[in-house]
């Protein structure tokens, strides 16, 4: 809309539909409209349709009918609780591993890398230039039974003589950790990088040990980044199915594998929809609890980190 033209119109005209006051109150709405439409079309509508589908019963050959079958939620949970718990466990372990690997890396890039900083950041993001599947297939090759890694670990006794790395929980968690590491590193880097380093100097001037300064200054200031990194890693990791599919066995399948198979192979669309919905709720609850725990201010800081 042409704001200038409108503003030039005589003010306070009794019959004018767009009075200044009304225009002022409508403007924010107009600005929010594109985003709102986006959310409605790509978020609300699919979710409602998902909910609608999940309550249907029937079969793919004769069709599904709406029967408001709420029992499907309890059934799906009891049927696939194993894969759900496994998803939480794998995603949780991988997130912790990402943090342990990612924090020193982000710290190094933010404070020690100097003029190489951008190069290191590029290197962190570089794997994303190839597809997730390609990267994961590469791990298949790295971890094969006859690979030097497997043989080396066998020699030092970390893997039993008739054991293997590929097709184990270890491989799946390692794959998730690898694939999601940049999601942890980047927000950590962002929050460390804008930290005021003089605070650490001040702390050490006041006789804080380096460790205390780190614990009392650096870590809390990196808080929003840690929180963002944990969420960005954990949430997509729960739904991941590529790693379990390529690096695991049927004993490592996660809830994403179940949903995929229910949609594409078994064609039990209601079960698949219900499982997707449950997974989303679980994630929402986790975020809500975390927000409660850490505070919404931190949460929004994390969002912009």
């Amino acid at each position: 809309m042409s704001l200038g033209g409108e503003a030039a119109a005589p003010r306070g005209q009794a019959g004018g539909w767009l009075t200044l006051r009304r225009r002022k109150s409508l403007l924010p709405l107009a600005l929010v409209l594109p985003g709102l439409l986006w959310l409605i079309i790509f978020y609300a509508v699919p979710i409602l349709s998902q909910l609608w589908i999940s309550l249907q019963t029937g079969n793919p050959d004769d069709g599904f009918a709406q029967t408001w079958n709420w029992a499907i939620y309890a059934d799906s949970i009891s049927e696939y609780s194993e894969q759900m718990l496994r998803s939480l466990q794998y995603a949780g372990t991988a997130t912790i591993a990402c943090f342990i690997i990612g924090f020193p890396l982000a710290y190094f890039i933010a404070f020690k890398a100097g003029r190489w900083r951008n190069l290191f950041l590029l290197l962190v993001v570089l794997p994303f230039f190839t597809s997730l599947i390609v990267r994961t297939v590469a791990w298949q090759t790295i971890l094969t039974d006859d690979s030097w890694i497997t043989n080396a670990l066998k020699t030092i006794g970390l893997v039993p003589e008739d054991g293997r790395l590929l097709a184990t929980s270890f491989a799946v968690i390692a794959g998730i950790t690898y694939n999601f590491l940049p999601f942890m590193v980047l927000p950590l880097y962002a929050s460390l990088e804008r930290m005021d380093r003089t605070l650490v100097e001040a702390a050490t001037d006041l006789y804080a040990s380096r460790w205390t300064a780190f614990r009392r200054i650096t870590l809390p200031l990196a808080g929003p980044g840690i929180f963002a990194g944990v969420l960005l890693t954990f949430i997509p990791a729960i739904g991941d199915y590529i790693n379990a599919q390529l690096l695991g066995t049927s004993q490592q399948y996660m809830i994403g594998n179940v949903i995929q198979s229910q949609y594409l192979v078994v064609r039990e669309y209601p079960t698949a929809a219900a499982l997707s919905f449950i997974m989303m709720l679980v994630v929402l609850v986790i975020i809500a609890v975390a927000a409660r725990f850490i505070g919404t201010k931190r949460l929004s800081e994390a969002a912009v980190a």
């Binding site: 050959d61 597809s131 298949q140 039974d145 293997r164 229910q262 594409l264 064609r267």
Partner: protein, 401 residues
């Protein structure tokens, strides 16, 4: 799709295998993980309301597709499943163009991708697709296939007798095999330390964690039934179910390393698997680079299947599709395809032609099986749609999803 070709390239790079035939993409795709599967996944997530059965009786007695200008024929086939040299011959003879797509990566996935159009009675933008037997049966039962005007396909007489009357399409009114294949055992005798001769050898505790089976039940359970002395082509649902249960027991013991799609080839070539349920064409190819690998049609029997040319509903040019079927049932064109594809050739007369140029290939039992081999092969069980669904669900449970 750039992503797909990248995967393709990378796969070749990491596996050191030459790229050929459909195995490469299919191996990823069959387990539902190809890049393309994401779109199918999204398609499948769409609404399912009103998916009433599209069942309509199609009259096959009176099909007439008169000669008409063809324009462009669209064929969706499995990746690396044709020698594209043969296409211009058909194009010239019929003054037509072909858009040959390699986007049929997986039966269920492709079905999921086009399901909504089919249910609404629309065309899917293809004139030919290549579903495997059981999936072709689903298309026919749902009324999604156009019957073939046999007057346009005189060469169909070259179809091997053993393939003429499959249970899902008794008179081949809707389908003609594109290529056929054998499901048996692929193994490395150096690793197993002995010759295998039955599917039950896969359950030898010595091989714990070194064998794999297909996650799709028809092949895996079919072989297991043969090991139990059951004829899978006549099997009841209970017998199929018992075979799946047997697979479950072995899996719980840790005997089975993975359930795979086409991706077993990589594990087998890398030595992660010592023996596995395998497709004949893949092994012909793998053997070229890993001479120690062998394909076995077990003494108890193997499964045989076909990927079938089928004309989907609302196809633009059924006549064009039929002329193409006719063309590839000419032994000359069929021979070119067979030499490239290395699956079991469904067209009679090809073996003699190939023997002149490539006598070694003509002797390959996996491409031109003799009667003794053919007698050991069995078709997939033919069960009701509901039974098939239950067995699919049971098998998915076993495979952990």
């Amino acid at each position: 799709m750039p992503d797909e070709s990248l995967d393709h390239f990378f796969d070749r790079l990491v596996s050191g295998e030459p790229i050929s035939r459909r195995s490469v993409l299919r191996r990823m795709a069959a387990s539902g993980i190809a890049v393309g599967s994401a779109s199918a996944f999204l398609a499948a997530c769409g609404g399912v309301e009103g998916s009433g059965s599209g069942k309509e009786e199609v009259d096959t007695s009176n099909v007439n597709h008169p000669k008409a200008p063809i324009g462009t024929l669209v064929f969706s086939n499995w990746p690396l499943y044709i020698d594209e040299k043969v296409i211009p011959g058909w194009e010239k003879a019929n003054d037509a163009k072909m858009r040959y797509l390699e986007d049929y990566n997986d039966n269920e996935e492709f079905y999921a991708k086009v399901r909504q159009e089919l249910e609404q009675g629309q065309g899917i933008g293809r004139d030919l697709v290549a579903p495997t037997d059981w999936m072709a049966g689903r298309w026919i039962d749902q009324g999604y296939a156009i019957p073939i005007d046999k007057k346009n396909v005189p060469n169909a007489k070259n179809l091997l007798p053993s393939l003429q009357n499959p249970p899902f399409d008794k008179n081949r009114d809707f389908t003609l095999p594109w290529q056929s294949g054998i499901t048996g055992i692929g193994y490395d005798p150096k690793k197993t330390g002995r010759k295998l001769n039955s599917i039950n050898d896969l359950f030898d505790p010595e091989f714990k964690g070194r064998i794999s089976m297909f996650s799709e039940w028809r092949d895996s359970a079919g072989l297991v039934m043969l090991g139990q002395g059951v004829d899978p082509s006549k099997a009841t649902k209970a017998q199929c179910s018992a075979a799946i249960e047997k697979i479950n027991e072995e899996n719980e013991k840790g005997q089975i390393r993975r359930f795979t799609g086409n991706d077993y080839t990589k594990d087998l070539a890398a030595g992660n698997l010592w023996a596995c349920v395998a497709w004949s064409g893949d092994l012909v190819q793998l053997e070229a680079d890993n001479p120690s690998l062998e394909f076995l049609v077990p003494d108890d029997g193997g499964m045989s299947w076909s990927d079938n040319m089928l004309i989907p509903q609302e196809a633009k040019t059924p006549y064009g599709a039929e002329t193409f079927m006719n063309y590839v049932y000419d032994p000359v064109a069929a021979g070119v395809i067979a030499e490239y594809v290395n699956y079991f050739c469904p067209v009679a007369g090809v073996q003699e032609l190939v023997a002149k140029k490539n006598p070694e290939l003509a002797k390959n039992q996996l491409i031109f099986p003799d009667k003794a081999t053919l007698d050991k092969l069995y078709a997939y069980p033919s069960l009701s749609a509901a039974d098939e669904r239950e067995l699919t669900a049971q098998m998915q449970k076993v495979t952990g999803a």
